[in-house]
Symmetry: C2
Subunit: 332 residues, 2 copies
């Protein structure tokens, strides 16, 4: 579903959209970051929304409860990128006419349970018929400190990444093959689960934001390359990732060897990871590791003067800000 395509159409769209917006002082951060930040109700809040579309963002025949869970997870991940505390959400469901009340309830059950794990309650929603399943979640959260944006990074900052990118992309390939989960080995199950049930990095993000560590952050949803490019662009800097530091999960390496795929390509352009990429001082590494506890966080590169995003190794550099999913240019 994710594709390697020239970056930029989606970002260009956001620029054109911003030009249409009338001024509103209550909108502290509008379109173009992981979430909006508004100030109109006493305290600042973040708001974000993410769609899941059948055949584009998930495979036909997906388990509905898991789908509801994932729809909330991807929004929780956006809240995490802002350093926000998830609070409540609305869930809208488009279902084909032949699917009844029980299907809608299964989706809700997964969404409610997932929200509850992170302090976010379902407050309402909408239902409609349609040719295929679409889930739309809008999620609100509070801020205990200033929001973490994409734009606060500066040359010299180190870049950190939670977890293992590319597992979800391999998991999607496994899911697409139609293999039964029970027939999979442990490693492939790990990859499948990374795709079907991503883990939003809410707890770490709150701990980091509370300690004032991240200068900029983005959740890696469309691909590490394209999203590193977005963070760099917003921060008016250049993201330089160190090839030797990109964390490759053993399960991904094993799968790639078996399938003749390139694990690094999956890690850079796979998408659907929902890991947290953030810029912080190099000296913060020890504190970050301490706060992350068992969650692996790798220092994968740094911001430099310039533009774009590149992968650097002993042989030189290659551009990676085209590696990932662009909603305007991708053909599912």
């Amino acid at each position: 579903m994710n594709n390697r395509l020239p970056m930029g159409a989606e970002d260009r769209f956001v620029d054109r959209l911003r030009a249409l917006l009338p001024a509103d002082d209550a909108i502290r951060i509008g379109p173009g970051d992981d979430a909006a930040v508004v100030a109109a109700f006493g305290r600042e809040m973040i708001a974000t929304t993410d769609l899941l579309v059948e055949g584009v963002d998930f495979l036909p025949g997906a388990d509905l409860e898991l789908l509801g869970r994932r729809a909330v997870s991807v929004n929780l991940s956006d809240a995490a990128a802002m350093g926000a505390r998830p609070r409540f959400f609305l869930l809208s469901i488009v279902l084909p006419a032949e699917r009844g009340e029980d299907a809608a309830l299964a989706i809700c059950r997964g969404a409610i349970a997932r929200g509850a794990e992170f302090g976010a309650s379902l407050a309402g929603g909408d239902l409609s018929r349609g040719p295929s399943i679409v889930l739309s979640v809008a999620l609100w959260g509070s801020l205990d400190q200033e929001p973490v944006t994409r734009s606060g990074g500066r040359p010299g900052d180190a870049l950190y990444l939670t977890g293992y990118p590319g597992r979800a992309a391999a998991g999607l390939r496994i899911a697409s093959s139609g293999a039964a989960r029970s027939d999979l080995g442990e490693g492939d199950r790990e990859l499948l689960d990374a795709y079907l049930d991503p883990e939003p990095r809410v707890a770490l993000s709150l701990a980091l934001a509370s300690a004032g560590i991240p200068r900029a952050a983005i959740d890696v949803s469309d691909g590490l390359g394209i999203d590193a490019g977005r963070l760099a662009r917003a921060s008016e800097a250049r993201a330089v990732l160190d090839r030797g530091r990109i964390p490759i999960a053993p399960a991904l390496a094993a799968w790639a060897r078996r399938e003749g795929a390139d694990a690094l390509d999956c890690a850079l352009g796979g998408g659907d990871d929902y890991e947290l990429l953030f810029a912080a001082a190099e000296e913060a590494e020890g504190e970050i590791s301490r706060l992350a506890a068992k969650l692996p966080v790798a220092r994968i590169g740094r911001l430099e003067e310039g533009r774009g995003a590149v992968l650097r190794d002993s042989a030189g550099e290659r551009a990676i800000d085209t590696l990932g999913y662009d909603h305007f240019e991708a053909q599912p």
Copy 2:
């Protein structure tokens, strides 16, 4: 698109959904009203979401800017039903792969302009591909007083309705016939516009709420009959509409005569009206008319002891709480 079907599946769904929800003191009003009311950010806010799905909620080939406008209008209407002041919205768009950036921007342009008329700014959104167009708006707003719910009515209250129900249903029939707007007479244009570009009753709703007049309210989106039934059910009362008082627009009467349709049926079961139905004291009628200024507001009946919703005339009563659109039982 709207259909006459036994009431209840959607309301039953909401009951089952509520049973799944863990307690959260911050959710003052959860699923089942026109909007949620949440207290988590200092001051209370309302939040609501409404989907528009191609082929179900609008016709294929619809003007995109008008569609963006309508997607915001139907959410503004929900805010109005709660007596809330619209403030921000998120807009998510699913577009077929062949539609590009300009199509998405046209939708945004209509949405932004409509929101601006009522003080609601676009704060963010999402984009995805899909087989057909889906628009999802999530809108939130502030409350200057206690929210107006569906449940505050009581036997003895009069029922009031803004505008003319049924025009949108006739407008949908006209739109479905493919007639060019420029070929239509003035009356048919009025009906078409009522369907394509409904007017949310935000200003009147704020004036009424500020004066403490409505005891309960609902926006008439699925049909006057079914929505009167919902208000009555929430208020644990019986809605009795007076046949002679249902306001029939002259344009609707003329269209119905010409087409051999029943104008009263359109008014009771048409849907897509986005008029405000509210319960208030009978003595408030003068004050309501004064606040409504040029907007017609009719006293169409009252709440009595009992259950359900009926239309009463000299011949007797007939149940009308099945007249309208149920999202679970309707076949578009």
